[in-house]
Every structure is written in C-alpha cells, then in structure tokens.
C-alpha cells in the first residue's frame, strides 16, 4: 500500500499530511496518557508494535500473481484503541521511507492515513460491532484484523484514483484499476493477518489475562463472549 516517493502530486501530498498530522498528535497524546495511567501495559504495547513491525516487513505472494504485505496494526487497535496505533504505524512507515526507499517522505501523510489511521479505526469499529452482535472473541478479532487490513488497501486505491483519474472513465475507472492491483491482491493476505492476530490474542488471553481484562476494548469482547 506504500505510495512511492514523489508519486502523489504536491497538492495531494500536502493535503494528506495536513489530515494525518493532527491525528498523529492526538494519537501520541492518547498513547502517553494510557501508558502513564497503566505502566503495566507497556509490555503488551511493545508486543503490538512488534507485531506491526514484523508483519509489515513480510511481502507475501498472492493469487493475483503479485506480492503485498499485511499491516499488523489491527492487533494494537483492539488492545489499546485505534489512536494508540497511529504513532506505531507512523514509526513503521518512517523507517521504511527513510531506510528502505519503500513509500516516501512526500507520501508519508497519505500512507499514514491509510495504514495508521483508516486500518486501526476500521479494525476497532468492526470489533465493537462484532462484539455487540455477540460473536465470539476469536471471530470478532479475526473480522476486525482482516477487514482493517483490507480497508487500508482500499484507501490507498482511493487516494491514487483521486490523484490519477482515468482520462475516459474518471475516478471510478481508475479506482477499479488500483483496487484490482491492491485490494484484490490483499484478500488472502488479509485473511492470514486475521488468523495470526487471533493466535496472538489467544496467547495474550492465556498469559496476560489480568492485563487483558483491564483493557477497555478487550474487556467488552470478553464480556460478550463469556
């Protein structure tokens, strides 16, 4: 989902940066407040950040004959709320933009918006909805991580289609083209991310049951599942 360096026109690049920057500031504030109030959460936040680092480094083959990577930000969004994952996603994207020439500084705002904002917020929303419907925790976690991952790639497709509309078909035709590249490729990878997130949450439920119960989001899911 990384839009490459220089591949968004300046107006778009600036616009996405202007949208993402205040959310990032809010996310940093929310994360700091949560850690000051609950220092025991540091370990699990580290695990959530590590999960995002690990998964977003893995480029997996997909049925469309191209490779793409999961994002790993859904897990943290379920544990700590979506705001806390904005700075984590930002760090991952900055690392890749500076050292790997993957993504870029001019497109950082747009990439942060898709991977560190839309992804976590969709994951969080799906989890809340699934818990409210009374689905089991595993199913809720799977749906949340999987759909959050997909949402990130759909967002990237929208961003590119907006910047590069088709000469004939306009935005829609261009969106279909980019979604065919990004969203379709992502389907099996998003399923994998959903399954891996379930594994990690199961391990946390076994080993860190106490901390997990104190997390507002998970507590909600656990209460419904019980």
């Amino acid at each position: 989902m990384h839009i490459m360096e220089g591949f968004l026109p300046p107006a778009h690049a600036l616009g996405w940066a202007a949208v993402s920057a205040p959310v990032l500031a809010w996310g940093l504030h929310a994360m700091g407040r949560s850690l000051r109030a609950h220092p025991e959460r540091r370990m699990l936040l580290g695990v959530a950040a590590a999960f995002a680092f690990l998964l977003s480094a893995l480029k997996l083959p997909s049925v469309t004959g191209s490779c793409s990577h999961p994002t790993g930000v859904g897990l943290g969004a379920l544990l700590f709320g979506p705001a806390a994952m904005v700075p984590v996603g930002f760090v991952v994207l900055l690392f890749q933009a500076l050292l790997l020439a993957h993504g870029g500084l001019t497109t950082l705002g747009a990439n942060v918006f898709s991977m560190a904002i839309v992804g976590p917020f969709v994951s969080y929303g799906v989890f809340r909805a699934a818990a409210a419907l009374g689905l089991s925790r595993s199913v809720a976690v799977f749906l949340a991580a999987c759909l959050g991952d997909l949402a990130t790639y759909v967002t990237t497709s929208v961003q590119l289609a907006w910047a590069f509309p088709d000469a004939v078909g306009g935005f829609e035709a261009s969106f279909v083209k980019f979604a065919g590249i990004f969203a379709l490729t992502q389907v099996p990878i998003a399923i994998s991310e959903g399954l891996l997130t379930v594994l990690v949450v199961n391990a946390m439920a076994r080993f860190n049951a106490q901390e997990l119960r104190s997390l507002p989001v998970m507590a909600l899911g656990a209460r419904k599942a019980a």
């Binding site: 360096e5 004959g65 793409s68 500076l98 993957h102 500084l105």
Partner: protein, 112 residues
Amino acid sequence: MKPRTWAILAAVLLLTVLPLWFAASPPALPGAEAPAMFGGSDDRAQQAIGSLAPGYKPWFEPVFAPASGEIASLLFALQAALGAGVIGFWLGLSVARERARRADGAQDARAD
C-alpha cells in the same frame, strides 16, 4: 499447543504457499510488457500510474535508497527480526512465568 492453533498456522501457511502455484498471470498493461510474476503490488501501481498519466514525473527522490536488492532484503529482514525478537521475548517470559506460578502452587499444596 492446541489443535486449533496448529490448524490456524497450517491455514496461514497454505494461504501463503498455494498462490505460488495457482496465481493468475498478471495482466499486461497497454503499452507495457507483461510484468514479472510476484513483483510488488506497489511497483504494479507505479506502472498503472504510468499508463493513466503518461506525462507524470515523480517530483521527489527517496533520500536514501538501499544500494542493491540484497541490502534492501537485509533491512527488511532486520525489521522483521526486531519484531519477532520482541514477540519471542514476551512469549518466553510468559511461559516461564506461568511455569513458575504453577511450581509455586504445587509447593504450597505440599506444605499444607
């Protein structure tokens, strides 16, 4: 590990490996040769931009680009290793903590 954990791991493995045989050939964009199998979707998007807006020139270059594909994969491996290392530390610590807790419980039971 529970059977369900094994089943989930197997499913992830299959989802990753099966595309290597069953993936469709990527469609060639008009005016370009067919892209190589299993290239990055990011690169394919870059080609799509090239066909949608042939006149578009990237206006900014990466500040630092890995000197070769090998260096790039080194850095990606480093990123994954960092993540996996932290997760492994947490899992190891958790298992050991649980074992210690259980041993404590057994000792308490004998003392009673």
